[in-house]
């Protein structure tokens, strides 16, 4: 006991002496604030893969820290502040609810760089925002669903009625209707991003009602697991490659790929060229086929070779920019032509249409929760 005590006091003393020195090394410290656990197999898991890509790329030159399960809202100020206080040079905050807290903390630490995912506020020069055009992947899913469904009923599990989710639903419906006008999409709002029990329940309800394709815009593989249990039911994975949960049911997953963006941004901090940006990458970096984007299609499966070839051709066209995800003419739910199309645009514009999308396209039944 005495030994342990004296060892403890000694190390305590050593700690006091070394903390000052430890902060002085010249490694670039990269911090991450995650909304979920890294083991969610979806959203946060993919951001953590991005963190590991940074470690792999820069090795000893960087040190990374992550905080998981950080609640969104005002409480996040504490977590983000602590990363800034402990000498991190660049901090990635990876959920929409961190937007106000990120901007609040950033204003106090002008020497620290902040990168906020899915937001639009950049109140000081040291805040950048980034987001992915996941809806490009929904187009491909729309095509596959149109040609795979036998019952012509498709269940769509949606999280919250926000632009990102609505864009996905509209992109899916538009392509679906093009190839199979008889197919009907039923959207169910579950008001959660991650709740395996609720997601599974929604998937089962769709199957019971005769749907044979399940689309999800939530983060857990629960819906895929439910589809796998019943013959003839297919599902699309979300956020990460979910093929291992649906050997006989997985069609394709939209995978979030933050790796190349994260590596680019940390490289910019290292060489001193970091500046404020607002990045929105799809399948490619520039929308014209160059670079690895933030959206990746993983593991086409359980479809014919012919359909697979068609899907991959569509993917290539979307990547190269030859095809836009939401080309004109696009009609709103009530049959009215979308404003952008009426104004003679070739496709829906990013600003303000896509970033604030709060209406359904023609063919979706029901209305957005109000």
């Amino acid at each position: 006991m005495k030994k342990i005590l004296s060892a403890f006091t000694a190390s305590l003393l050593a700690a006091t002496l070394t903390t000052g020195i430890a902060q002085a090394d010249d490694k670039i410290k990269v911090g991450f604030v995650y909304v979920g656990p890294i083991g969610d197999l979806g959203w946060t898991y993919r951001h953590d893969i991005g963190r590991l890509a940074i470690e792999k790329e820069f090795g000893d030159k960087v040190e990374t820290t992550y905080l998981e399960n950080v609640p969104e809202g005002a409480e996040a100020v504490k977590s983000i502040t602590q990363l800034a206080e402990t000498g991190h040079d660049i901090i990635f905050t990876t959920s929409f609810g961190f937007m106000d807290p990120t901007n609040e903390v950033a204003a106090q630490y002008p020497d620290v760089k902040f990168e906020h995912a899915t937001g639009f506020k950049r109140e000081s020069d040291n805040v950048s925002t980034f987001s992915a055009r996941f809806y490009e992947g929904r187009v491909i899913q729309g095509l596959i669903a149109a040609k795979t469904t036998k019952t012509n009923k498709i269940g769509y599990i949606a999280s919250f009625p926000i632009p990102e989710v609505v864009r996905g639903i509209n992109a899916f419906q538009t392509e679906l209707a093009k190839h199979n006008p008889d197919a009907v999409v039923d959207v169910k709002w579950v008001f959660t991003w991650f709740d395996p029990a609720k997601e599974a329940e929604a998937a089962q309800a769709f199957i019971d009602a005769g749907a044979d394709i399940i689309v999800q815009h939530t983060d857990s593989p629960a819906a895929m697991a439910i589809a796998e249990k019943t013959d003839g039911i297919y599902a699309f994975g979300q956020a990460s490659n979910m093929s291992r949960f649906g050997e006989n049911s997985h069609l394709v997953s939209i995978v979030d790929n933050w790796d190349s963006y994260y590596v680019d941004r940390v490289a910019a901090v290292i060489d001193g060229s970091w500046s404020q940006t607002d990045t929105w990458w799809g399948l490619s970096k520039d929308g014209a086929g160059n670079g690895v984007g933030m959206v990746e299609m993983a593991d086409y499966g359980n479809i014919s070779e012919e359909l697979k070839a068609e899907a991959m051709a569509l993917e290539a066209a979307l990547r190269s920019g030859e095809r836009h995800a939401l080309p004109c003419p696009i009609y709103k739910q009530d049959g009215e032509l979308a404003e952008d199309c009426a104004a003679g645009e070739k496709h829906l514009k990013d600003f303000p249409t896509l970033v604030s999308m709060d209406w359904y396209v023609k063919g979706i039944e029901g209305s957005l929760p109000k």
Binding site: F8, S11, L12, A14, A15, T16, T19, G31, T65, Y66, L67, P71, E72, G73, A74, E75, V77, K78, S79, T81, Q82, L83, A84, E85, T86, G87, H88, F96, G97, M99, D100, Q108, T118, G119, F120, F160, P161, I162, P163, E164, F191, V355, S356, M357, D358, P369, K370
Partner: protein, 363 residues
């Protein structure tokens, strides 16, 4: 054999002794946990204790501690009123939410947010909102004799769904937002910062004043005495002409008002808008229950407990950022503290005696 014997005269000395013992138990456990959870336990313990001086700016850390402590202390002292009289309001979280909703509703109604009286009106609306929501379980208890513990808890879920509903539907704000939220309130009705760069704002002064007023009432007035009587001897309460029903109404009204005030301050100072429940509520209403008991339902105790738990919480978030120690360590410490304090409180009222008194005589 050990047995407990009722103490004839428990005084400040016996209290101090049991509190010290509880603190020691908590400290020992915390050290043990940090040894298990960190690969640099000595660093972790040292930084946990001294984190305000470890980071870049000390005032930032103290700001975070005081901010959290203020919310916890104000809600906890409100709850302690009922707990002293065996009336169990565990729904402060919902009353907090309703305080925020009340303040936001007042903001929409007043129409002139630039007026000097706008901010106080918002706070008052928060108090009323929290109070009204708390009176529902009081009403059910008085009229139908329902268990207020259950009804007050269930109303938390009703309140948080209502909050989310308002944000998705009738009060929906910026369509670009990736979460359900309302439009922000004007800058003129937001609490202003006392020290730039910290979490210290005028709202915390409001909370402090509310805390002091209620503490004075409980410690020095007849009303406070009456509630104390109700705790110890319900029959004496009746003989003295106090109605138990009135005690129910009163304690729910006070605890609801305090939680509502905290909710209004939170809206004006921290978020500036209503947000869907899971991104808005921080569990202050539930954490305050622990604070109330850690503080032994005494105003001074509650204040100290709120400061201690907030210090542990912020410290845990600091070592998570600096050493990657999971911050659930804070929750563990909190729970152990609660058990240690409740357990040691027994020593206040009872003496531990060993049965074979002959042993003592022999020495």
């Amino acid at each position: 054999m050990i047995h407990l014997e009722l103490r004839q005269n428990s005084n400040w000395w016996t209290s101090l002794r049991s509190i010290t013992l509880a603190l020691l138990i908590t400290a020992a456990f915390s050290i043990a946990v940090l040894f298990l959870m960190s690969d640099k336990p000595a660093d972790a313990i040292w930084q946990m204790l001294t984190f305000p001086w470890q980071g870049r700016r000390m005032e930032v850390q103290f700001g975070l501690v005081l901010q959290q402590a203020a919310y916890l202390a104000v809600i906890a002292i409100g709850l302690s009123v009922g707990y002293r009289a065996n009336i169990w309001n565990i729904g402060a979280e919902g009353q907090f939410a309703f305080g925020s909703i009340g303040a936001y509703a007042a903001y929409l109604l007043i129409g002139s947010p630039d007026a000097a009286w706008a901010f106080p009106v918002l706070l008052l609306a928060g108090i009323i909102g929290g109070c009204l929501w708390a009176l529902i379980p009081a009403f059910l208890r008085v009229t139908c004799n329902t268990n207020e513990l259950l009804t007050s808890l269930m109303l938390v879920y009703v309140a948080s769904h209502l909050l989310t509903y308002l944000c998705i539907g009738p009060l929906k704000g910026d369509p670009k937002a990736g979460q359900a939220e309302t439009y922000p309130i004007a800058d003129s009705v937001q609490a202003s910062k006392l020290i730039s760069g910290t979490e210290l704002h005028t709202g915390l002064i409001v909370l402090l004043v509310a805390f002091v007023i209620l503490a004075a009432i409980l410690l020095f007035t007849l009303l406070g005495y009456r509630l104390k009587v109700a705790q110890h001897t319900p029959r004496a309460e009746r003989f003295a002409g106090f109605s138990p029903n009135n005690t129910v109404w009163l304690s729910f009204a006070i605890s609801g008002a305090m939680a509502g005030l905290a909710g209004a301050v939170y809206l004006t100072a921290e978020t500036g808008k209503l947000i869907q429940a899971e991104n808005y509520l921080e569990n202050f209403g539930f954490a305050a229950i622990i604070i109330a008991f850690l503080g032994r339902l005494h105003p001074l105790g509650i204040l100290l407990a709120a400061l201690m738990i907030s210090y542990v919480n912020v410290g845990a978030s600091y070592i998570q950022a600096s050493l990657q120690v999971d911050d659930s360590v804070a929750e563990l410490i909190e729970v152990v503290a609660l058990f240690a304090f409740l357990g040691c409180a027994v020593l206040d009222q009872y003496k531990v005696k060993f049965k074979r008194t002959t042993v003592r005589a022999a020495t």
